[in-house]
Amino acid sequence: MTSTAPALPAPGFDDPARDAQRAFRAVLDALARPATGVPLAGPARPPTALGPGLAALALTLLDTDCTVWLGGALADDAATTTWLDFHTGARRTADPAAAGFLITPPAALPPLEALEQGTDEAPHLSATVILDVRGCAGPDRFTASGPGVNGTAELPAPWATDGFASDWARNAARFPRGVDLLLADAAEVTGLPRSTRLSPLAPGQED
């Protein structure tokens, strides 16, 4: 990767209408069935910093009506910002609290309570976090329950940072306000809507 912005950003979806529909169904399925990984196909040549999974979510969900905050190295990656500007037109903001969408690696994720929560009358106006979970190797695992989960489901969470469990518990306690999470790697997306409750599972413990 060179550090200068390419003259023309890499292409988006091959077939914008059909590819976005498929990616959306993956996201919808992921949020409707929390803690279950759903296969996700992205564009052929996404910016390296985004990878095909995050790129697919950005193309599917973002447009000029959205504000997006980029976390960690993404914010300074010219290939990513040029590509997002060109394909989505989403307004980038430097203030995570003002963003409708956040795309970030776990380490750069602000505390959830610092993000837009929506209001009791309009809880849908809350932030959606697209968490880049590629290459995470933490030891955490959770048991998930709540709407969309048939009983309970085990959720390996190598992306979970210290304090995530309690941050998430506070997020769930704010229901119906609260933030929703989409965990994306290169080829899969997992949903964690605010309605999902997580309880830590000791390493090696079976659900």
Binding site: A20, Q21, R25, L31, A32, D63, G148, P176, R194
Partner: protein
């Protein structure tokens, strides 16, 4: 009158509109039972004829889908036919009348008799999304009541029914509590169908085009029909089996057969009826 559809986008709506709908759908799924306001678009059919359902279906449907459309449980009522033809033309979707073969089912007023399964999505056409609307006409007020989870009005209404008639006199659009938080209108399905919503393996999406609201029930979610300890919710039942296929425990339409009070009861779900009649034939 043929419709020339050249120049229209796949699934009719433009991509920006689909994204707007899709973002609303995701929030709806994340807050089960909450009515998400959305900038409802005109679609080429009248408001009140399923424009909400049509927009939701247009936002989710793809070439991999098989679509079933029913109105009153039937695949071949005129409005169901009209909507099915629309999607066959603009979304190049495969269509079916078999509940078990469908990946997306758009419905008005019924839930199919064949139990829905994981991976299926049912899209309800909703005329009045606000369960409190006939008790409180103001949006500003009902919005506040939902925020406070203050549903006393509805319980008072149901209680007054009991005082007056000895029963809860609500036979369709019977209000439900979703995941223990939001009071929700299930759309004008008969209360007979309400139990099918509870812990359904299918994703349930609701679109109200004229009223500009989208809401959802994820799979495996508690959907409780309101009731009292001494007057619990009782879904309707029918005494007779279907006169065509002999099914019991299904919802029936009454068909008037003469002008002397004669009538027969037949399945409202035409797919179920055909299938059950075929099975009965084989058994015989």
């Amino acid at each position: 009158m043929s419709t020339d559809l050249t120049g229209y986008n796949i699934a009719y709506l433009d991509e920006q509109t689909k994204r707007m709908l899709r973002r609303a759908l995701l929030k709806a799924v994340a807050i089960p039972g909450f009515q998400v306001p959305f900038a409802s678009r005109e679609v080429p059919m009248p408001r009140g004829w399923g424009t909400g359902g049509v927009q939701v279906t247009a936002a989710i449907i793809g070439t991999g889908d098989t679509l079933k459309v029913i109105d009153q449980g039937a695949d071949d009522t005129t409005n169901a036919v009209s909507i099915r033809q629309f999607f066959a033309a603009v979304a190049h979707a495969s269509t079916t009348t078999r509940t078990s073969e469908a990946t997306v089912i758009q419905t008005r007023h019924r839930i199919p008799e064949t139990p829905l399964t994981e991976g299926q999505t049912i899209v309800y056409q909703v005329p009045m999304p606000e369960p409190l609307r006939f008790l409180e006409p103001r949006e500003t007020e009902t919005r506040r009541l939902h925020a406070l989870a203050d549903y006393g009005l509805m319980y008072v209404k149901l209680y007054e029914d009991i005082a007056r008639y000895g029963h809860i006199a609500q036979t369709y659009s019977y209000p439900v509590m979703v995941a223990g938080r939001y009071l929700m209108s299930p759309s004008p399905i008969p209360s007979f169908d309400n139990p099918k919503m509870h812990q359904s393996p299918a994703l349930q999406l609701f679109g109200a085009g004229r009223e500009k609201r989208i809401y959802a029930i994820p799979p495996y979610t508690d959907v409780e029909s309101l009731g009292f300890e001494d007057y619990p919710f009782e879904p309707q039942t029918f005494d007779d089996p279907c006169a065509i296929c002999g099914s019991t425990g299904v919802y029936l339409d009454e068909v008037i057969t003469d002008d002397k009070g004669g009538s027969m009861f037949v399945c409202s779900d035409t797919d179920h009826c055909e299938h059950a009649a075929g099975q009965a034939e084989v058994t015989r």
